[in-house]
């Protein structure tokens, strides 16, 4: 009888698999926690790099970058020791209008003929809540490197993948991209949904 009550090793394994296939946040009913998601991740193409630039009188330009790559590591012992590196290819900018895209790629803005990438390397990560962090790092565009800051919110994770929302406001004039101001805002608002695959 006692033997019968003891779950078989196979049943334990199935139960564990079932528990892990749903996100821990759902499983335990709490907000996702950065420390629990520690590991090395590669940024996948399912991510969305969305930006908007407001214009005088309302509205503005909105777009996405289709091509990018990057990786990040959430430190197991101290989230503040985490790192991220990210590269995007401005040639892949999409705004829904060819003329706007060509203008953004031209020497007026990204100058993709001479500068094919925009890169970000974190220099300082500070956890600001169980699921949030402020990431400071060096943004390099058009040959200019500056310190910029993004706020990161962990949305979801499971044993294989992870999802963040990352927001940051970048002033474009220091990078020599001030064309169109003040009709178009100097501030580019990034709203990115980053998906990572555990390595």
């Amino acid at each position: 009888m006692t033997l019968r009550l003891q779950p078989s090793p196979r049943a334990v394994a199935l139960a564990l698999l079932a528990a892990m296939s749903v996100s821990p946040s759902l499983a335990v009913g709490a907000a996702p926690n950065l420390a629990d998601a520690a590991g090395n991740y590669g940024i996948t193409s399912a991510s969305r790099i969305h930006f908007t630039v407001a214009q005088a009188g309302g509205g503005g330009i909105a777009g996405d970058f289709g091509k990018f790559s990057g990786s990040f590591r959430i430190d197991r012992n101290d989230v503040d020791h985490s790192t991220v590196e990210f590269t995007l290819y401005p040639e892949s900018v999409k705004t829904g209008g060819k003329r706007t895209e060509d203008f953004l790629k031209s020497s007026a803005v990204f100058d993709t003929a001479n500068y094919s990438t925009v890169t970000f390397r974190s220099t300082n990560v500070k956890q600001t809540g169980p699921a949030t962090a402020a990431v400071e790092g060096t943004l390099t565009a058009r040959g200019t490197s500056r310190k910029e800051r993004f706020s990161v919110t962990l949305l979801d994770w499971n044993r294989g993948s992870i999802a963040f929302n990352i927001r940051g406001n970048i002033h474009r004039s220091p990078y020599g991209m001030d064309v169109g101001t003040p009709i178009y805002s100097n501030v580019v608002e990034f709203d990115m949904n980053i998906k990572g695959q555990r390595r």
Partner: protein, 206 residues
Amino acid sequence: MLRNDKAGFGWVTIILHWTIAAIILALLALGFIMRRVPIDPVLQFSLYQWHKSLGFTALGLAVVRALWHVVELHPKPPEGLSPLEQSAGSVTHIVLMGLALAVPLAGWAVASTSTLNIPSFYFNWVVIPHLPMAKSAPAENLWTLVHMTLAYLLLAFVTLHVLAALYHHFARRDDVLVRMLPTGSRRHKRSQTAGANPVIAGRKKP
């Protein structure tokens, strides 16, 4: 003398005339450079915005000029002009004033129908709304063609107008050009007090 009278133009007409003339010439030059000359895209964007701000200025002044033409006295045409020459002059002036309204209106239509939807931020000061027109590439192309054609037509009439003024001044030796000059206003004032214009009288052919 702000107002016109039968003898000549007042300051309001003279200032409107030369301000609009300068702006129209600047707009024609800007339009040509920003569309037809290969230039840096940053400069091109900037020239477009200057063109739009100046264009709205031209439109506003052209409205005032046209209203002024309607309500104000017109000086007498110089003596010795045939009825055909007189009506040619009047028609040219009305066409010039009409085109000075139509060209910027068509330009406004270009900005309003453009799929780029770039706001018209008047001298970076106030946003002038787009006309209530649907944005589409065909509409933008059509209005661009209209704007350009009317602009070249305006250039043709400006040339005709200038040549006619020079013809009056050098060939006919009358006061048609001089009375539109700032000095013309002073002579006009003097002529009113003296009851005759000695400068012009002296220029008349024997």
